[in-house]
Symmetry: C2
Amino acid sequence: MQHAFDQAIALEAGPDGLWQGQTSPAYANMVGPFGGITAAQVLNAVLQHPARQGDPVALTVNYCAAVADGPFAVLARPVRTNRSTQHWMVEVTQGTDTVITATVFTAMRRETWQSGEHTRPEVPAPQDVPTPAGRGRVEWLNRYELRFIEGAIPANWDGADHGTSRTRLWMRDHPPRPLDFASLAALADVFYPRVWRRRATLVPVGTVSMTVYFHAGPAELAVTGTGHVLGQAQAQAFGRGYFDQTAQLWNEAGDLLATSHQVVYYKE
Amino acid sequence: MQHAFDQAIALEAGPDGLWQGQTSPAYANMVGPFGGITAAQVLNAVLQHPARQGDPVALTVNYCAAVADGPFAVLARPVRTNRSTQHWMVEVTQGTDTVITATVFTAMRRETWQSGEHTRPEVPAPQDVPTPAGRGRVEWLNRYELRFIEGAIPANWDGADHGTSRTRLWMRDHPPRPLDFASLAALADVFYPRVWRRRATLVPVGTVSMTVYFHAGPAELAVTGTGHVLGQAQAQAFGRGYFDQTAQLWNEAGDLLATSHQVVYYKE
């Protein structure tokens, strides 16, 4: 049986170069789908495109409007193809509405000097960190195995200022699925809103824009396989309705697979 | 006399809703213009657009090809206008070539709970940090007053691994100019390539994509005025031809004005 993630990101080549997709109830959020699955769908439109060259290096997804449950169309357009790199513009539409815009950069990468300067923090091994009991408050949370080391979703919404917005957790698809670029993009958005962590207050929120830089290539993805990914996320500033989030994702071997950033709307 | 920065970002409303601009020799880089001035031009096309609502919150600029010295056209298109937010797609073309793609998010922001979680590091005051002697190796460097506290452009290209890619500096336009959104976007790209800092080796480089999140609003810009901005930049990973950079920009009062990220191509 196909994994729920593969079902969710499946796109059908439609007329006029448009890909046709469908929101997945398995990845439903409070309103509309989990933003990470939308990012994976956008990336998949580029990955499946017959003109695509190379692997993804950068992905920026702008959440223009709530994606309604149901069908959507994805137009992925290579706007510039260089010798070994390619720039893409992507738009997701529902009827006449643009709900998502995105840009993707792909490249044929070659070996060079390398260094993971932001090293993985020392944390307990995944098997020594418990998974939360019970089901997630939204459906997509049940598609992930989340082992919070620090900064779990508040059990008590006490409204106190907890001084830090940092979360660290081991995570992977549930059931496990070998990591690829699309699932890595989705994992970059698994962190729940930093304002909830910092203030233990359930204010309305919505991601406005997310960027993922892929440091992993096929070798690091293969090494990761169905293993856990250590995610770390923290806000740098909250103010006048928006906060940012900076995030890092390492595998168990210590490779920095991706770095990610997003800016999120919040109320109050 | 008009400031060189204002001359450089000036755009003329052309036919068909296209803005017409011109590269500025004052901001010339080794090949083509300084990426920061291109980011400011892109943002300016949105800021000057008659349909624009609100202030910039997020800007992503993709450098698709070297911008040639000379004229260029900027098409800024509001793809989604919500009640208090707006999503833009921008393309810069020279002849039939797309050289830049960008997305911009603007919003009418309201007061909310706020906190600068990433606080400004303790550093000496700007007047206690010297400016480098002599002229910059490229012209645009002469348009900035750069007071390096840590991680200056290597004086000795000794090829050693310096263990860290972090740079901290006080910076502002030279001559001083009151900070605005466009000049803040440009400042986010002032940091020289992190691979040069880390390895003290002058390898070929080129920014592929840069994102800036604006935490400052009109009040913080006004407080900053012509004062110095503390910039901090560091890479998180280098590998297979690309590294990332994460950056923070604070004013002298300690406000986190912007956070920024970019991914950069490097050779060897």
